[in-house]
Amino acid sequence: MRFLRLFALVVSASFASPPPARAEEANSLSFVNDVAPILTKAGCNSGACHAKAGSGQNGFRLSLFGFEPQEDFEHIVKEGRGRRIFPAAPERSLLLLKATNATPHGGGKKIDTGSDSYKIVARWIAQGMVYSPGDAPSIASLEVAPARGTLAMKAQQQLKVTARYSDGSTRDVTRLALFEANDKNMAEASETGLVKISDIPGNVAVMIRYQGMVSTYNASIPLGAPVENLPKSRNFVDDLVFGNLKRLGIPPSEVCDDSTFLRRASIDIAGHPPTFEETRAFLADASPNKREALVESLLSSPGYADYFANKWAALLRNKRLDKGTPASFAFHSWLRDGLLANRPYDTMVRELLAATGAAVSNPPVAWYNQVKTPEQQLEDVAQLFMGVRMNCAQCHHHPFERWSQQDYYGLSAFFSQIGRRPTAIAGQSVIFHKRGVAVAENKKTKASVKPAGLGSPSFEIPPDDDPRLVLADWMSAKTNPFFAKSLVNRYWKHFFNRGLVEPEDDIRDTNPPSNPELLDALSKHFTESNFDLKAVVRVLANSAAYQLAAAPNSYNAADRQNFSHYYPKRLNAEVLLDAVDQLTGASTDFADLPAGTRAIALPDNSYNKSSYFLSVFGRPEGDSVCECERIQSSNLSQSLHLMNAAEVKTKLSKTEGRAARLAKATDDSGNLHELYNAALCRAPKEPELQTALAYLAKPRTDAQGKALDPALARKAAYEDLLWAVINTKEFLFNH
């Protein structure tokens, strides 16, 4: 009886006059526009809870961040015979009971009883759970006000988020939007959209998400210090870097001295510190453009080709597959020869993408023997050559970006016509284009997807044409927004130790560059040079911005983003091993390679196994397309290895090595001069000289206490001095 009365109430309620209309309420609440955002804000549909891959949480499954409202509606309203909602008494709906923790809920209390969110959900249930009324508009865009601003340190800014709908109406959705700053050290955004700035100057962005749309708030936090005495601008890079610093009020450090520049540029461009002779010549050279001349000579040295081939080989997964297969050597050589000949970047990418044949006769094919499925291929290509991480979009709309599954499969379609045939060598296939129409299947909708570049219309590719060539053409078109940008950002990070977009392969609207004009200018410069890689290195290395000292001044120590001073970085594993060899006059023997081969010239990852030095200093295995696989952090094992390893001792004590040779020469002062110049590109300072001379003069005894033969003692002393220098930060770091 009571039930019937309740039912009558509901029926009569639906015939009653509608409640007074407010700006946010339509006659009928829509699941899509009104309820789904509440679930997203409350965190119900996060990847950790009910949007968990598989079957959600405890039998209740929602789509990630509400990207599939149709599915969510079915699960909430229809699943389990509608046990989750109770229109006759909405407040008794399981949905609300759980959300308010009135019934035991693993997620705890997500909304308060009586809150606006609660009332909207309850009314929606009472109205009969409409998915989307016929005339309900769909969301068209998301705006944030203000969109950008200059804030003082410790300041606050409340953001207002407005959703614009297809019928022109707007709604303030600040309460329900999600906020996240891209650098939590610089700013924090609260749940209600209040942005709190901390005390680091620079540029920070807050990403705002609502109902599948994203928007960004860009804040500039000036230091406000006086910026006078800027170094002389040498090219457009300086104009834009210093322009940014002036705007932010962060005075840059001075330009570094010749010793510092010599060592820094040699390591960054050619992968090895300069020799003693090169140091002496450079420091003695008085010509005004010697720094530019140095950059040119480094670019034409084989070290440049070796060092950058080493960088790209790891990213292109050049792993040793098997004994007896020279594919990894051939691939590395293809990279190195191409860099030496300065072949245009787009040509090399084209040859890689559209590679056909067998690996030894066409080395880029080796990439396809490592990256075997279309999913792996498109993810690698997107991250490496476009700076876009597509991995998430395989299964659902990318949470932080505008890419959908449709975009994902549109890219994968380019790789759908790759034919493989086995060869006599295990694990090596012959690659060719299989005749057929390039198409992929969207795993979600089961619909077929034609090949399409990101954000571009799809292509109709005839069955005889290799779709990978079409992709290569699209990527290297001068108007492509990703190709050039991702390369210059990557190379910027190589030289400046932090990308303009950071991480360097995560370019997205919600992760804006710290200096957008600079990034655009560099991309344009690269494209107009016809993708000349040496031109990129030239413009970066010749800029005054690259040549700033590492020592901060009294203002810019906190700046980690705007390049007001040089950010030091530890030498790479290969560079460090070569530097130790070069300093001590020793060499490392590598299997299958001629004596004297440098570590930066190693063709593949297999040498990590045989060289503890390389693996402990983080040389990557080539398992990932991310440069972060190379471990640049410091740890105790590294220190111990440099201090104690037999390998290092053997190098120090090599007969006819540097220690032995210096010990034979009697001019200690001159010897120390050579030692410091060879190791650190500078002369020893007076206190350093005195300490070292005193050390050399000390008498030495052996383990039994007998006085050591003077010749042996001298050699041991020089070995010790070399050892000490090798273990200094100044040697281990590029600064």
Binding site: S333, D337, A358, N362, R435, D464, R468
Partner: protein
């Protein structure tokens, strides 16, 4: 067991026994192999010395060539003794340029082959190491250098060029049986890399300035050693002349190269541009087109008219010329309408697949080890309606490659049924984990039968029987061919040496005969072999190639471990549907290990015959053929049985006796020398003063002689140990094939 009439003095070991992984059983009885020759080429008209390295070749083999224009004599030292492994070659002035097979005739028979190039340019052999800039070997223009790389090293050559001069640097390696994958790098005078080539072994160099340049040669993975030899040719060439490379061997797939009479077929040249439909080159069929995949992604389009009912065959010749291409042919019908044109697919022609199952997983021998197919296309298309048709040809490997040297011939013809054949010594997995791919020269032991797989590539719908045969065999050697029946692609050849066959060698001719369109046609059958004896194919990639000729030899020094014959009758008759029992006679020589020998049939006609075991050392057995189960039709057949047998094999025990005699001689001489010295030493004390100096001098001389004699004694002892060790019996498993068994199936008896 040695033949008593052997004339060669057997001095003992200069040999290598095939050694499998330690502890594992050895496979394949020793066969002689020529491994390297340095130099591996010469200018026509030259006289030169070569050094060889071989396997199982013993002392003083003869060096023989497949061309009579080259003769070789063993090198003699000043004392008139033979210098081991060195020969003096004379190349006739009119020897044609190209490749020639070099082999050794040894105690065991004829060895495997090595390429020898007869060239037109003067040649040098690298003598001193040239592994640094300072020790670079100067290379004169228009000359060839023979050398081999050193492991983990680079070979340096220097040359001078003038600005604008065009020089070709061609490094022949895999094409002449070398294991080297070469890298060529041209550097400037300071040794800085200018140009690197790692794929083709060939650089077409235009000198940017006058001056000195260096050329670096090394292996792709810095491999080195005598087996990584190369011939480096430096030639000057005019600007627009086409490039010709040094001669090279052909892969197994090239056996199916068509013989196209240039006078009969109309030849057309490709006319670019012809990439798009609008630019299609108009042709009439039949014709033969010469074209090239010159630019990256090149598509060549040809248009022609055809009538309903026509059947046209298409064959591409490109990859089989040794080029790194993979031609793909697409034939479409063009229907023009006011709106544009519609294309309907008619045929897609891809690779020539192997007509028989290939060995999987590398060389597991669950199929044949050599691929008779190739990336070239061969197929037909049927014209269903009158109209205009378009044919597109492209290189599937050429999407990003521009090379004017990647030429093709496109043959369009009416059906011209034909076949090509390739033969090779049968391979079989002989034990668990057998990963050997050894070359198998036809060096027969007395009483042995060797089986050869013969694979036919049928063309243009030819489907008849193919009879196999061999001509010009040495005395004592007979052959039986097991035919390739209609519809099948594999047959067998048996080559048998009688137990008392004398030592000898001759160049045989293998052929196949069939009736094509009523005409008897005979086709030559080349053989394929491994360029290198690969002991473990998981570590090295086997390199098969076609061999120019087929020498068949009998060593005359050893007998086969097991001979299986079928009773006394020449032909075994039985009625269809009955059980045919054939007594088998087995002659076992020597000692054996392992259990019974499992015998299986050879030949398509009796493939379903079940295997059966023969106990070790059994003198006889019985082959039972149930014609009812096999459903064999009336007719004449040939059958053979094969299996694996493990014999206790002793390598060259005769050498032991000979060296023993020598050792005794040496011991005697040493003892005599010692005695003489002692006598002189004693006499020094007793002799008068004026004779003292003379005697002392004599004593010194005697001491020297004794030292030499002692050295010779140690040498002889060492040699004795070596021959004894190598002659120690070892278990070796090898294939045993019965002699041919001829069977006649008569009509079933009337009941």
């Amino acid at each position: 067991m040695l033949r008593p009439n052997l004339t060669a003095a057997l001095l003992g070991a200069a040999l290598l026994l095939p050694s499998g992984p330690a502890g594992a059983q050895l496979v394949i009885l020793p066969a002689p192999r020529l491994l390297t020759m340095m130099p591996m080429g010469a200018q026509a008209g030259a006289t030169l010395e070569v050094t060889i390295v071989g396997e199982n070749i013993d002392e003083d083999p003869q060096l023989v060539f497949s061309s009579s224009k080259i003769t070789a004599q063993p090198k003699m030292d000043a004392a008139g003794a033979v210098v081991k492994n060195q020969f003096v070659l004379k190349v006739a002035g009119d020897a044609p340029a190209g490749l020639v097979e070099a082999r050794l005739m040894t105690r065991l028979g004829i060895s495997s082959a090595r390429c020898f190039t007869v060239g037109t340019l003067p040649e040098i052999t690298r003598q001193k190491p040239n592994t640094s800039l300072e020790t670079a070997l100067p290379l004169a223009s228009n000359s060839v250098c023979n050398a081999f790389t050193t492991s983990k090293s680079v070979d340096f050559y220097s040359f001078t060029a003038s600005k604008g001069q065009r020089l070709l640097m061609d490094c022949a390696t895999t094409g002449i049986d070398s294991r080297l994958t070469p890298v060529l790098i041209v550097t400037d005078a300071q040794g800085r890399d200018l140009l690197a080539e790692r794929r083709t072994g060939f650089i077409d160099f235009n000198a940017p300035t006058d001056g000195k340049y260096f050329l670096k040669v090394h292996g792709l993975t810095y491999q080195g050693g005598q087996e990584h030899f190369y011939r480096l040719a430096l030639t000057e060439i005019q600007k627009d002349k086409p490039v010709t490379r040094q001669a090279s061997t052909l892969g197994v797939g090239s056996a199916s190269l068509p013989t196209v009479d240039p006078t009969l077929t109309p030849w057309i040249n490709e006319i670019e541009p012809n990439n798009s439909a609008a630019q299609a080159q108009k042709i009439t069929l039949p014709c033969a087109i010469r074209g090239a995949f010159a630019t990256a992604g090149d598509v060549d389009t040809y248009e022609f008219e055809a009538k309903k009912g026509e059947v046209w065959w298409v064959e591409t010749v490109s990859s089989r010329l040794g080029l790194p291409t993979d031609p793909f042919v697409l034939v479409q019908k063009v229907t023009k309408s006011p709106k544009g044109e519609t294309l309907t697919d008619v045929a897609e022609l891809n690779d020539i697949t192997s007509p028989v199952k290939l060995s999987s997983n590398g060389y597991a021998y669950d199929g044949v080890p050599y691929d008779v197919g190739s990336p070239d296309a061969l197929g037909k298309f049927e014209v269903k309606e009158d109209g205009v048709y378009r044919l597109q040809i492209r290189d599937l490997f050429g999407g990003t490659r521009s090379d004017a040297g990647n030429i093709y011939q496109l043959l369009l013809r009416k059906a011209s049924p034909d076949f090509s054949l390739v033969a090779w010594a049968m391979h079989m997995e002989l034990r668990n984990g057998d990963r050997a791919n050894l070359s198998k020269p036809i060096a027969l032991r007395g009483g042995a039968t060797m089986a050869f797989d013969v694979v036919a590539l049928r063309k243009d719908g030819f489907d008849g029987d193919i009879e196999l045969g061999v001509d010009n065999l040495p005395p004592g050697v007979t052959t039986t061919g097991l035919r390739i029946p209609a519809g099948k692609s594999q047959g067998t050849l048996l080559v048998t040496a009688a137990e008392n066959a004398p030592r000898g060698v001759s160049i045989a001719r293998v052929f196949g005969r069939a009736k094509i369109n009523g005409t008897d046609t005979q086709r030559n059958c080349p053989t394929a072999s491994m360029a290198w004896p690969v002991k473990d194919h998981t570590n090295e990639v086997p390199a098969p190639r076609l061999i120019a000729d087929v020498p068949v030899s009998v060593g005359g020094s050893e007998l086969a471990p097991l001979t299986i014959t079928a009773g006394d009758q020449p032909v075994w008759e039985a009625a269809a549907g009955s059980k045919l029992k054939i007594p088998l006679k087995l002659l076992w020589r020597g000692d054996f290990s392992g259990g019974p020998v499992k015998l299986k049939p050879l030949g398509a006609d009796f493939a379903a015959l079940p295997a059966f075991d023969v106990p070790s050392k059994a003198a006889s057995s019985e082959l039972v053929i149930d014609l009812a189960v096999l459903k064999t039709q009336t007719g004449d057949y040939v059958l053979a049985l094969h299996g694996g047998v493990v014999s206790k094999y002793s390598y060259n025990p005769g050498a032991v006796k000979t060296v023993e005699v020598q050792q005794q001689e040496a011991d005697k001489k040493a003892a005599e020398a010692a005695a003489e010295l002692q006598k002189l030493v004693d006499s020094v004390k007793t002799v008068p003063a004026e004779k003292a100096a003379e005697t002392e001098a004599a004593a010194k001389a005697a001491a020297e002689r004794m030292k030499a004699a002692e050295a010779a004694k140690t040498e002889a002892a060492k040699r004795m140990k070596t021959v004894t060790d190598t002659a120690a019996p070892k278990d070796i498993v090898d294939i045993v094939v019965s002699e041919a068994i001829h069977i006649r199936v008569k009509p079933a008896e009337a009941k």
